[in-house]
Amino acid sequence: MKKINFKNHWMRKATALLMVVVLLSSCEQKWIDPEINIDPDSPGDVPISLLLPAIEQAIGFTLLGNDAVRPTNIWMQLMDGVDRQSFTQARYQITPADMDNYWGSMYTDALINAKIMMDKAVEQETPQNEGVAKVLLACSLGIGTDLFGDIPWSDALKGGEGVIQPEFDSQQEVYNTIFDLLSEAINDLGQDDALGILQDVIFDGDADAWIAAAYALTARAHLQLSEVNGDFAAALSAVDNAISSVDGDMLVPFDAANPNPLQQFMQYRTDIRMCQTLLDELEATSDPRIPFYFAEDGNGGYSGSEPTSQNGDASYPGPFLASQTSPTVIISYAEVKFIEAEAAFRSGATGRALTAYQEGVAASLEQVTGAVDADWMADNIDGEGSLTLEKIIMQKRHALVGQLQPFSDWRRTGIPALTLVPGATKTEIPRRLPYGQGELIYNPDNVPAVASVIDPVWWDQ
């Protein structure tokens, strides 16, 4: 008995000691290794070539996609909202919540990544990538300021430096920034670059195409300011170097795996139809673009919804606008030609204006229908004797259906003269979009007080 006890006693001691050893050894710092807290699925850094397609996709899908395109095209009576939120918007009700996603995406998807790309390009001395980043920044800022007015830029994108409530730049300052970025970009893109522009889904790395696009955006920016300090000469001189054919259109592509935003909207929500107002305008000349802008309706024809009539039987957006593979358009050759036509017309160069106008319509037909219907051109466009601003803007409107520019052109020129829709909840058609909800909540001291979406932006005078 004693022996066993003794043995037990010895074993107990050994076991107790072992427990202490386990306790001490397990305290070894290896268990708490800070490396474990690095997310295995999120790289700490990425090369420029992985940022570029993300920025292009964000611009193409979000900035040129549903949240801004739908309300503005509805208000321009190019489309109509027949159900749910789209119907509400058709009656001019649009809330900060409606724009929250759009506003956020503009900064957190497009702008910040373009800025990071620009900074990385400077650091890595790759001027062409620097130029591409600047073009993308300029085009995003242009879209943003045209829709919202004053927006943050000088103070923006500095969350990492602790600036979480950026001040807003005036629209005029934003336009100065846009001009600076584009002229720097044109310079940067002209330089030799051993790295080159990789993974570019817009121009496949073609620096000359980027330069032409930068000129086109410069021309657009000058014209956008037509009512405040528009410089038509500068616009015309930019046009000289801008996109010179339909092949040079600045497009963001989509495919079956990642389909066009409006196509997806129609697939999942179906609340949009083409507008009767647009159909009336196009049918007046039997415009060949009708089957491309309007899908066949249930009767095999093309029909529009009268604004706010909730005509769900009207045509869906057609194959040019809403196929899976329809690209979204940042800026096109057709638009460049209409910019040229307007700038020339308003500076008295009517000959140049007329030629550009006819080339613009032809470019649009080529872009939309794939061919230029010479007979139709002859009947309706080429024989044009006396050009008017209205004709230019109306044809530009018909060329840019589904884009944001018709909303800007209407605000600048008042063309076409649209009437208030039945059931309107506002006394005028909106002239801007409300700032996103998040900005109102989280940056309340800096967001400019805008009484209503019918208030004009700075250049809309």
């Binding site: 076991t15 305290c27 899908f61 509400t88």
Partner: protein, 1080 residues
């Protein structure tokens, strides 16, 4: 840390050298005072330790105590616990008195330590196996509902396996986890629905897909011996940072040591479930618009059905009777138009549950083995949940002073869930929006594979399509196991080591058939996730008695690691119908997610008691965690509690009116850590979306893309801090027949770690920082009374609690944080308000009186006599939290019959009835039936012809909104009668028409008969049975609520922080179960 370890090890080494004595064997017999019969199953525990034994069938026990002067504690359900100081005795026979109430129960506290409830300086509540077993819920969390105070449990719906949301004493974190820690036999386990439990297809959003179960559902309720709910910081301090939200200490059944024959328990039950409450639907107006029938139209604003007939066109494929036409139409067949009850869709669900348990043991070893199977079909056709459990708990003596125990459980949980929520394929969306003149049940698919629904193929899925063709299959194979070694080195020094693993694989398949409205091209996802938790606890216990003082010290060490890896393959655009393989599409995406962290801790717990009257308990714990910044990995925090049994003081002793009285107080300071991967900035796979569509992702046009993460991680993070304070009293009257327990608690959470949303112009959505303070305080009251004893027994058990959970502050410049819901409305955490407030749009109101403005300006676009939506910034619309909750259980017994029923009451709190608000727009809601209006030739309402019940005068004052946006109120009471017609319901009377969410906020109070059980125990049986019991249990048999939608115990996103949202939620259910329990 190094110094602490050094001191600790010095202590231990000294301790070992001092070891001399060894265990003493104590034996004895336990009998009942009432009839002298032997008492099997009595728990015998060495006070202040985890050493214990159980009496065998003859009431005999044998226990090795570390010290001949130890105190043994004998406890048994329904008997008064007795403590006996050994004082050198080796044979102790005990006679237990029947207690009126379980007076001094032994409870399992943190780290599995058994403590006398009397000695605790904080409040705990236990739920026993009997209650869990008969509640007959598949998830044990639902079975706890209504049995405790201060615990809030919400089931997301009545779907089989629906997730549950549980908080103890309110929320401690703003956006992080608020649910308690579950510990099974010392092993912390996964218990909730995690983010990773959603399929990848949900993206970040949970508003629009199926909800996974909470992982607490993997436990077999029958295996559980008891659950102790640890509520306050002092109770959970030893668990450290993972138990900031309280803890559920679950003890499973163990074998009984001693010479006894095998005991077999068999429990079988069958249950039926029915939908409890559904939103009312109108059955008077057919499909169409502006009073005209339009086939395939979205709305039910067509003509009155009484005026309609069919045209009898058999080629019209949407309705076998043909199109609807007016009864005087030449093509009318004369057949009266029909209306259909959409709710015929629901079926009676059924649950079959079989459980077998075997308990046995001898002097050396004992075991508990169980196997159980649950098969459940839901009220929605094809929804299913099933579970199979196997458990083996065994224990064996290694030597006289060492014991090994293992607890091993395997579970297989499988579910087929049907799409719910805000999604064009959600069952409730299609069902509630369907026009009553369309028969959904008359086929959901045409021979060509296209869909038959009320929208002529568009809009929403026919609910039968969704239920039959789509859904998610998920299967969890889970193993939870641990090994526990116990060593009794000397009479005053023992140790235990508990090491365990909780691991599961989740296998999912998510299907959208070709032709489904949310993915017309069809799609599917295969997912596989492997999750694991490793935990190791080493405890060293020291115990010594000095005269009237008793001291025990526990020091310990914990290592914990958790993580998962999830792989998925997604295919969109299927080629071959009904073939669900990834190779059935050219558009495949695959991905992998990984997540994990580790922690380590060293801790100590010192318990001192004086004369069984004064109890002091102090703990200290230091934690290290990988999720904190490298220079700030560790945190040290203390707790202290004091219990004073004042009825032990001379004059008060032996008083039969106040037979027992204790006051207690505790204080604790605990910490919590950051979520993983927030200490370094990162890039993430890019993608773009707009909230309407599936968006776009990468790979994209042959490229890969990354973008900077939306949440900016910071290196300067500190631990979250929680200071909790609690005082309370435990009073028992009239020989313990009535007991009353009162607690007041106050938790202050500071330095809360969260993703603070920031203005996105900063380039980020959110910044992860220490920001915010939240307070949770309240009272808890528990009453237990034995009104009648003897042949006819009557007991009452009641709980009442109120919790005030307020967000005190958020980060600089941040007033509000999104918790759940939609762009409008949403549940938010807002500084200065209750945690979980609903924000949304409101009507324009008189700025002085706050009364609703009723438009009086004939010149503006708003209709006169109606209120107007203010689309300005969202305003608070109500608090989702109740003012108080209560439950009361009455149990009557007469001989073998036992009847018990529990009422559960929730007072206060609101919910967004987005379902009704949307149904208005579609003209299907019951309230839209009073819509008919007749106009005079002048265009004003013809009061003579318009039915009076259709006229409404809005409560408010006249006013309007001026062109400059300012509010103009006349202050004059509105008396203009108006009609709630189609224009109203498609305008401001609904969410889609631009109506404010405020119009759809409803109180969600309730009184419900949560549970009713009627049981009969057969009188002394023949040889084969030791006992037999037949029972009936009903759950949610009766519900009274002002809420007009489904059962308000529901939430759109399931078990998450954003509560209070109802948007086409699945309905709740009531169930009826019959069961039989046999013991052989």
């Amino acid at each position: 840390m190094k110094r602490f370890v050094f001191v600790l090890s010095l202590l231990l080494v000294v301790g070992i050298n001092l070891m001399q004595a060894q265990g003493v064997q104590v034996t004895g017999n336990v009998t009942s005072a009432e009839d002298g019969s032997a008492l099997p199953g009595v728990s015998v525990v060495v006070q202040g330790t985890t050493i214990g034994a159980v009496t065998d069938f003859e009431g005999n026990y044998s226990i090795t105590v570390p010290d001949a002067s130890a105190t043994l504690m004998f406890s048994f359900v329904g008997m008064n616990t007795q403590t006996v100081a050994l004082a050198g005795q080796s044979v102790v026979d005990v006679v237990l008195e029947t207690s009126t109430l379980a007076l001094d129960e032994v409870v399992v506290t943190a780290l599995g330590m058994t403590r006398s409830e009397k000695s605790l300086g904080y409040s705990v509540q236990s739920v026993e196996s009997e209650e869990l077993s008969k509640a007959n819920t598949s998830d044990i969390v639902n079975a706890i509902s209504g049995r405790t105070a201060g615990v809030n449990i919400t089931s997301s719906s009545g779907m089989p396996g629906a997730s549950v949301f549980m908080t103890i004493r309110g929320a401690a974190s703003i956006t992080g986890n608020n649910q308690p820690l579950f510990v099974v036999d010392g092993m912390p386990i996964h218990s909730q629905r995690g983010d990773a439990d959603n399929t990848a297809r949900t993206g970040g959003s949970t508003v629009g897909r199926e909800g996974s179960s909470s992982r607490s559902i993997d436990l077999n309720p029958e295996d559980i011996a008891s659950i102790t709910v640890l509520k306050g910081g002092a109770a959970t301090a030893l668990y450290g940072l993972r138990a900031a939200n309280g803890a559920l200490i679950i003890t499973t059944k163990q074998g009984a040591a001693g010479k006894q024959k095998m005991k077999v328990d068999f429990h079988t039950s069958v249950g039926w479930e029915k939908v409890s409450q559904l939103p009312p639907r109108q059955d008077q107006f057919v499909q169409g618009f502006d009073g005209k029938w339009i086939g395939g139209n979205a709305y039910s604003f067509g003509p009155n059905v009484d005026t309609m007939s069919y045209d009898g066109d058999t080629d019209y494929k949407w309705d076998k009777y043909g199109r609807l036409v007016g009864q005087s139409d030449p093509s009318a067949t004369g057949e009266q138009a029909r209306m259909y009850d959409a709710y015929d869709f629901f079926q009676t669900g059924m649950t079959v549950n079989n459980r077998l348990g075997v308990t046995a043991g001898n002097d050396i070893a004992s075991y508990y083995f169980s196997v159980a199977d649950l098969e459940q079909t839901g009220v929605v056709p094809n929804s299913k949940f099933g579970r199979t459990n196997v458990r083996l708990n065994s224990s064996a003596k290694l030597t006289k002073w060492a014991k090994i125990g293992t607890n091993m459980s395997y579970s297989n949980s499988r579910a087929h869930t049907i799409q719910a929520g805000s999604n064009t394929s959600g069952v409730m969306l299609g069902l509630l929006r369907s026009t009553p003149s369309f028969d959904n049940s008359a086929g959901y698919e045409f021979p060509d594979g296209t869909q038959r629904n009320y929208r002529n193929g568009g809009g929403y899925d026919n609910p039968y399509w969704t239920a039959n063709k789509n859904g998610v299959d998920e299967q969890y194979n889970r193993f939870i196991g641990n090994v526990i070694l116990n060593f009794n080195f000397t009479d005053w020094f023992s140790a235990s080591y508990n090491v365990g693993l909780d691991t599961y694989t989740k296998d999912t398949k998510d299907i959208d058939a070709i032709g489904s409205r949310n993915l017309p091209q069809g799609g599917m996802e295969e997912g596989l996730m492997i999750s694991r938790i490793f935990n190791s606890d080493l405890l060293l216990n020291f115990h010594k008695t000095f005269g009237d003082f008793d001291a025990s010290l526990t020091v310990g060490h914990n290592m914990y690691s958790t993580g998962y890896k999830r792989l998925y393959g997604d295919a969109i655009g299927l080629e071959i119908p009904e073939y669900y393989q990834l190779n059935n599409s050219s558009d495949n995406t695959t991905g992998v997610y990984r997540w994990g962290y580790r922690t380590m801790a060293v801790f100590g717990d010192l318990q001192l008691s004086f004369k069984d009257m004064l109890f002091l308990d102090g703990t200290l714990r230091n934690d290290w965690a990988t999720t904190m910044p490298e220079n700030n990995l560790s945190a040290l925090y203390p707790s202290a509690s004091l219990g004073f049994v004042f009825t032990e003081v001379g004059a008060l002793k032996g008083n039969s009116i106040l037979s027992f009285g204790k006051i207690r107080g505790s204080w604790a300071n605990t910490a919590n850590i950051a979520e993983p991967y927030n200490t370094v900035p990162a890039y993430v796979a890019a993608g773009a979306g707009d909230g309407w569509t599936n968006g776009v992702t990468f790979p994209y046009v042959g490229t890969t893309g990354f973008e900077v993460a939306g949440t900016l991680g910071g290196a300067e993070l500190n631990h979250e801090n929680m200071r909790s304070f609690e005082i309370g009293a435990d009073l028992r009257f009239i020989n313990n027949r009535i007991s009353l327990d009162v607690s007041y608690f106050n938790n202050l959470n500071t330095d809360l770690l969260l993703s603070v949303p920031v203005a996105e112009s900063s380039g980020y959505n959110a910044i992860y920082i220490n920001a915010g303070e939240m307070e949770s305080k309240g009272f808890e009251l528990s009453l237990n009374a034995t009104i009648l004893q003897g042949d006819f027994g009557w007991e009452i058990f009641a709980n009442w609690s109120t919790i005030d959970n307020t967000v005190l502050s958020l980060a600089e410049g941040v007033e509000s944080i999104f918790l759940g819901g939609f762009t409008v409305p949403q549940t938010r955490a807002v500084a200065g308000r209750s945690y979980g407030s609903i924000y949304g749009e409101d009507w324009y109101r008189d700025p002085d009186t706050n009364r609703i403005l009723i438009n009086d300006d004939p010149s503006d676009a708003n209709r006169d006599g109606y209120p107007m939506t203010n689309t300005g910034p969202m305003v608070p619309l109500g608090d989702t939290n109740p003012d108080w909750t209560a439950n009361i259980t009455n149990t009557f017994s007469y001989k073998g019959v036992r009847l018990s029923f529990m009422f559960d009451i929730k007072k206060g709190g609101v919910m967004y009835n987005g379902t009704a608000f949307a149904m208005n727009y579609f003209g299907t809601h019951g309230r839209t039936v009073n819509r008919e209006v007749y106009y005079t030739p002048e265009g004003t309402i013809d009061f003579a012809k318009t039915p009076e019940e259709n006229l409404v005068v809005f409560d408010g004052v006249y006013g309007h909104v001026a062109d400059d946006g300012s509010v103009v109120s006349s202050g004059i009471e509105n008396v203009t009668p108006v009609v709630l017609d189609q224009d109203w319901y498609q305008g401001q009377g609904s969410n889609f028409g631009g109506g404010p969410s405020a119009a759809s906020i409803e109180p969600s109070d309730w009184v419900r008969l949560r549970e009713l059980t009627l049981g009969y125990t057969f009188p002394v049986q023949r040889k084969i049975f030791q006992s037999a019991e037949l029972y009936f249990t009903g759950r949610n048999l009766w519900l009274s609520t002002p809420y007009t939608g489904v059962d308000p115990e529901s939430n759109l996103e399931g078990g998450v922080n954003g509560q209070g949202m109802d948007y086409f939620n699945m309905p709740g259910t009531k169930s009826y179960t019959v069961g039989l329990k046999l013991t052989f």
